[in-house]
Structures are given as C-alpha cells and as structure tokens.
Symmetry: C2
C-alpha cells in the first residue's frame, strides 16, 4: 500500500487494461451544434455510430493522442481540446477491459477541412439532438456528459468563441449560447454583458444581409490579465 507501484519487472505480473482516448468533436454547422461520429464496421456494435477514438501509444501523452485522433478524423489542428472524464466500467467493452479517457474538442465553423461531408461516409456530423441513438458502447453516456460539461463551462469561460470563425457578429455569438444552453437569451442584456466583459475587439468590417448590416467583431486573445472573465447567464447550473 505504501509502495503502491511495483518495480519495473513487476508490471508483467499484473493484467493490464487497454486504454483508449475518445474525442467528442463538436462544431457549428449551419448555426447548429453538431458532433462527429464514426460508424463501426465490425463486432461489437457493428453498424452503430461511435465517438471517434483509438488506443493510446506508449510514447504519446493523453492529450497528444487526442490531438492525433482529432487530426486523423477532421484534418484540423490547433483546436480547443479539454479532457472530459475517464470511463472505466468493467463491462463497457465486451472484448476486453478498456478504460477510455474522453476529451472534448471544439472545431471552428470555418475550419471545415473535414472528410465527413458526403452522405455515405462512415464519418459524419450529426446535430447533437439528433444523433443515431443508441450509440456503440457507453457512448451515449459520454456524449451526454460532454454536452453537460459544454453547457456549464459556457457561462464562465470563453469556450463559445472556439466554435466561431475569426470574425463574427454579436448576434451570432448569442445564437451559439442559445444553441448550447437550449434557451432564448435577451438581446439587450446579451449586448450589454458581452461588451462590458471587454473580450471583444471591434473590427471595421460589416456583413450585409437582409436587414440592417451587422458589425463584425473578433475575440480578444490578448485580454488584459487583470480582470477575469465571468459571463453568467443563469445561476442554477452545475455539471
């Protein structure tokens, strides 16, 4: 118990579980939150859709494995990535004991280098409220947890910006919040809060549409470290 780790030669004495890294990849497509799923071709759960993932290699960290997986599936580098939770129930995979470290990735709307475009692909984007349930393994549970984490972090982090392109309007940002929180927000209050937060940088650009043109903004990465960002929309949330 004290010396809980065996010496090197001891490792072989233990039966080891397999470790995978699964990445719940979100993106905004047509103003709707989507998640990337892959279709399984073999037993178990043949034909079911699953969260993309793969075995960890001994020479890469968990996050490196997640980034590799992400790039393999989407071709995208340089995205927001965050560890979600580790799922380790004994029977989650019928073949072998598998422990899965789940990550969340947010891919920007304009970074669509993705090979998941055509209808017949075995890699596809699904709107988060229309996934082909049940998913393989315990992936319904993982997805549900990822969404819940997304919702709760939206309010006190700048996470929403990770889903937007470089330039965006304030109402587009509001739309993301509404998408993820699943509720309407007041326009005036949104404008006020987001401006007070001081995390937006005005650009000279406008976008024209049907009504009045809209100003485009960019996310200020260089935020003056002094005051912290808090952006709370509701009080009664938690994970």
């Amino acid at each position: 118990m004290q010396d809980e780790r065996p010496a090197l030669y001891d490792v072989s004495k233990y039966q080891l579980p397999a470790v995978t890294v699964d990445v719940v990849i979100f993106s905004l497509i047509n103003r709707t939150l989507h998640v990337l799923l892959v279709q399984r071709k073999r037993w178990p759960f043949e034909g079911r859709w699953a969260i993309p993932g793969g075995f960890i290699r001994l020479d890469e960290s968990l996050e490196e494995a997640a980034r590799r997986e992400l790039e393999e599936e989407t071709g995208v580098r340089d995205v927001y990535l965050e560890q979600l939770y580790t799922f380790g129930d004994v029977q989650r995979d019928p073949r072998h004991r598998v422990i899965s470290v789940a990550y969340i990735a947010l891919v920007r709307a304009d970074a669509q280098t993705i090979r998941a475009s055509d209808e017949n692909s075995d890699v596809r984007w699904f709107p988060v409220d229309h996934v082909p349930a049940p998913l393989a393994f315990d992936h319904d549970q993982i997805l549900a947890y990822a969404l819940s984490r997304l919702r709760s972090k939206l309010e006190y982090t700048t996470l929403a910006f990770q889903l937007l392109p470089e330039l965006f309007s304030i109402l587009e940002l509001k739309h993301i919040y509404e998408q993820i929180l699943g509720e309407k927000l007041d326009k005036g209050n949104f404008y006020r809060k987001i401006k007070e937060a001081g995390i937006l940088e005005e650009t000279p650009y406008m976008r024209e549409g049907r009504g009045r043109p809209t100003r485009l903004w960019r996310f200020r990465r260089d935020r003056p470290g002094d005051k912290q960002f808090v952006f709370r929309w509701r009080e009664d949330r938690r994970e």
Copy 2:
C-alpha cells in the same frame, strides 16, 4: 480509424500502459484542511511523500478501485468520492508508462478510524498548505489541481458538508468555507445565505463553549427536489 478497436486477439499486439487510481483524501483536522499522504519506501522517489494509489484490477471499475484504496488507507467507507482528472504524461513514472486516474475523497471530521495517527507512521495527514514538497511523481500537480477543484465546487455544491460531522454549527460551516477558499467571509451574509438555501435542518442540540452557546444543525439530505442549491460566494472563480 473507423473501427478503432481491434478484436480480442489484437489486444496483445499493443503495448499497454499501466493504469493506477490515486485518491487525494481530504479531511478537516483541528478545523484545518488536511490531505493524507504516504511515504515511499523504494526507488523511485524513495522517502518522498505521495498521494495514495494503486493499480486497477481488471474486475473492478475505476470508482470501485478508488473506494478500495480509500478503505485500505483510512478504514473509512461511505465517503464522498469524485473523479478529478487523468494524468498521463509519458515520463511521469520513470519505470514504466503509467496513466493515473485521480479521485478526490472527502472524509468527515468525525470518522477518524485512521491508522495515520502517530508521528512515525508512513501514512500521515498534512495541512494542505504545509505538505512536504516536492511530492513523488507529479503529485504536486495532482494535489494543486485537487485543491483548485475543491475550491470551485464549494460554491455551487453541498460538498463542504461532506467534511463536517453529523451535527455542526453554522460558524463551523463558515470556517470550512474560509479554509478552502482561503478568505474571510462575512458572518451576517453567511447566516442569511445558508438559511435561505434551506439545506440545513435545525436540531434541539446546543454546544457550549466560552461565549454564547451555539445551535447545532444537520445537513438536509432530503432536500425538496424543486429548487436547486446555489451558494455562491464569489463570482470570479473557475477551475
């Protein structure tokens, strides 16, 4: 990539990392937040203090492993347990690739069945701001993260109650908040908020001390499911 999991016989083709479960065990001792550490007896990090942990067995879930570990170290069952984070840097253990799933446990002040009492033990409680740093492996990092999680969850969960005995005074509860948050709270505002939250149940008991005796309360587990518990002391926190 699509079929990211090999069939059963394939598992042996991969080199597998070892998986441990480490449990950061907190308790309140003499009104101060303490963490349980064990002293290593062998290389690597011989003599250094470490967060208790052990290898996962194939027939137990992650949480079961954490509970087993916890009971081995403290003799305590029935405690608050929550998964913290999974640490998997390649070089965190010099012997072998080890991925560690860290948990937080909160042990109630009155449940001191612990064999960590005497000074010469290799299992000991340390005040969280006086741990014998550096700890073994990356355990300084794990402990720091555990504390930060504890702080942020304190405000919107009933987590603090897990550290208190069955009966406690409101000022004792306030003291826990101050311990963990590391700042003084206003007495009047604390009384008001905790009472409005409706999570305390008054008991007929009092405790006598030097000044005016104090009323004892108990935590209401049977909270009427309707209104959610929010108990925020500061706005500018996150993890």
